[in-house]
């Protein structure tokens, strides 16, 4: 059941979207997010939705997997939508029912807010679906390299992130195992009130924490045994290099970003 969590799951493949340099993809997602916040009207959002659709098509990820990724944030999406719908003051009220009012601006805001969040999440997920966690952190480390001059521990942060990402599936599997083992001893996670349900988690959380600490300890020992000493003077096995397709993709991203900003200027 826990295995169904798609958060950041990588779908291996060999499409142009997979082959792009991870740095390119991070920058493109950044462009995309900026563009989303600059879009003002139907035209801007239309362009961005179309861009996403084309990228999804190229990556062959499948819309279903992408939509499934929205499930965990469904609550936030609905909440934002309702909040905007009811509490945006507008020029004209479409519905008035006692203290409850829905204004024209409210409808406008609600629709575009929901659309914005959905596109934002699907866009980011498309990146994690087509980029392995390792190359993603690799790209991030290279992009942030400049910050090293400001004494930001970029390498350490990237290493921590790769380790965290690497251990998510392991810990999920571990949780599944512990849950099964406790269920085999008659543990009941489904029935009871909230307090009983919270108490039922103790038999899972205690072994899980113990094993997480044990794993951390083992990993640290293993890294030290191989003389890991941080990023200083460390070279890469796979050195990232921008290719022609990366420049082309970045140029296209920039054009779309500029286009959406221009459309936003006109308020459409």
């Amino acid at each position: 059941m826990l295995k169904d969590i798609t958060l950041g799951q990588y779908f291996p493949g060999d499409t142009p979207a997979h082959r792009l340099d991870p740095r390119t993809k991070i920058l493109l997602v950044l462009f995309y997010i900026i563009a989303l916040f600059c879009a003002k009207g139907a035209a801007g959002y239309g362009v961005l939705a179309l861009t996403l659709a084309v990228c999804v098509r190229i990556s062959k990820v499948g819309l279903r997997a992408l939509v499934r990724g929205l499930k965990p944030v469904l609550f936030i999406i609905i909440f934002t939508g309702l909040l905007n719908l009811f509490f945006t003051p507008g020029t004209r009220n479409l519905v008035e029912w006692g203290p409850v009012r829905i204004s024209d601006a409210g409808v406008h805001n609600a629709v575009f807010m929901v659309l914005r969040i959905m596109l934002l999440i699907m866009g980011t997920f498309l990146m994690t679906y087509t980029t392995s966690p390792i190359s993603l952190t690799d790209g991030l480390e290279r992009l942030l390299n400049g910050l090293k001059k400001l004494h930001v521990p970029v390498h350490e942060l990237a290493m921590m992130m790769s380790i965290a990402l690497r251990f998510i599936p392991t810990l999920i599997e571990e949780t599944d195992k512990i849950m099964s083992a406790q269920k085999a001893r008659g543990a009941d996670f489904e029935s009871g009130n909230l307090i009983q349900k919270a108490r039922a988690l103790i038999p899972i959380l205690v072994p899980l924490f113990i094993s997480a600490f044990r794993r951390a300890d083992e990993l640290a020992t293993a890294m030290e045994c191989r003389c890991y000493h941080g990023g200083e003077g460390r070279t890469k096995l796979h050195v990232l290099k921008y290719q022609g397709r990366d420049y082309a993709a970045l140029a296209m991203g920039a054009v779309i970003l500029a286009g959406v900003i221009a459309l936003g200027r006109f308020g459409i």
């Binding site: 512990i178 099964s180 085999a184 001893r185 008659g186 009941d188 072994p207 113990i210």
Partner: protein
């Protein structure tokens, strides 16, 4: 063995993971077999042969994609709400069960299962102490934290946690994995005693052919989601060539017997205990064979 109503029946069991995703695959495909009451059944197979998936169906942790599991003649999924009762009747000990300990004391940890069963007071106390005794946990260890114990002792506590539910069928997934030889023999002796004294049905999953050969009445050999063979140890190890071909091992004694046979000595290749081979060799010697 007299013919009784089988306690556990697996009928055309199939389990498919990840239906409708690119990762779809069947871990168990159309498996059928019966388990008689009081039987000691061994299950062997390679990693990925479907052993773990299979045993998780026996106590209803996994639900079959198709097919049935019958406990005492009743489909365990006839009433999905009562699946917990099935888990008390079929006790499952996972691989490396010591990683599931969580309570402050050994006593409390062992009592987790029986308490979920609804046992209280003297009945609970008796179940816990009896289970601890069966696996050789001393009384003074019951008040210790399970995390203070050694690896082998932790494993015993975890096993006791399942035994304390007094299951009718005990399923063990590689109970001796990662233990030293003495710890292995000790734990297997506990399990054998438990089986003999209680007449509990035991299903033992193991990688070790020697362990299986020494303990079980009947063997089920799994290979890539199917049952490759089943029979008494003598029947199964008589097909040593087929086992080796399937990438599985045979007991060391059987390997010695096969090697002797290859050199022209007339020993039964299905031999699987040291005592049997010794008897045969002595008989051959008496008969005047070059030895």
């Amino acid at each position: 063995m007299e013919h009784l109503e089988p306690i556990l029946q697996v009928k055309n069991l199939t389990h498919t993971y990840g239906v409708g995703t690119p990762f779809q695959r069947s871990a168990v495909e159309d498996m059928s077999f019966d388990v008689q009451p009081g039987e000691f059944l061994g299950v062997i197979g390679h990693t990925g042969s479907g052993k773990s998936t299979l045993i998780q169906h026996l106590n209803g942790l996994l639900r079959p994609t198709s097919g049935q599991v019958l406990l005492g003649g009743r489909d365990i999924w006839a009433e999905p709400k009562k699946i917990r009762d099935v888990r008390f009747r079929v006790g499952l000990v996972f691989q490396y069960p010591e990683y599931q300990l969580f309570e402050e004391t050994v006593y409390k940890d062992i009592s987790f299962g029986p308490m979920n069963q609804g046992k209280t007071g003297a009945e609970l106390d008796h179940a816990v102490r009896e289970a601890a005794r069966l696996v050789g946990i001393r009384d003074d260890q019951l008040d210790k934290s399970p995390f203070e114990l050694s690896g082998g002792q932790k494993r015993r506590v975890a096993l006791a946690g399942v035994l304390a539910m007094e299951p009718e069928v005990l399923v063990l997934d590689e109970p001796t994995a990662g233990l030293d030889p003495a710890g292995r023999e000790n734990l297997m002796a506990n399990i054998r005693d438990f089986h003999r004294n209680r007449r509990t049905t035991v299903i033992l999953v193991s990688h070790s052919m020697d362990e299986i050969a020494q303990n079980v009445d009947r063997i089920l050999v799994l290979k890539s989601a199917h049952i490759l063979m089943s029979g008494t140890p003598a029947e199964v190890f008589a097909q040593a060539d087929a086992l080796l071909e399937a990438g599985l091992d045979v007991p060391q004694v059987t390997r010695v017997a096969m090697a002797l046979r290859a050199r022209g000595l007339d020993v039964d290749p299905a031999v699987y205990t040291v005592e049997d081979l010794e008897r045969q060799l002595l008989a051959l010697r008496k008969g005047g064979a070059p030895c």
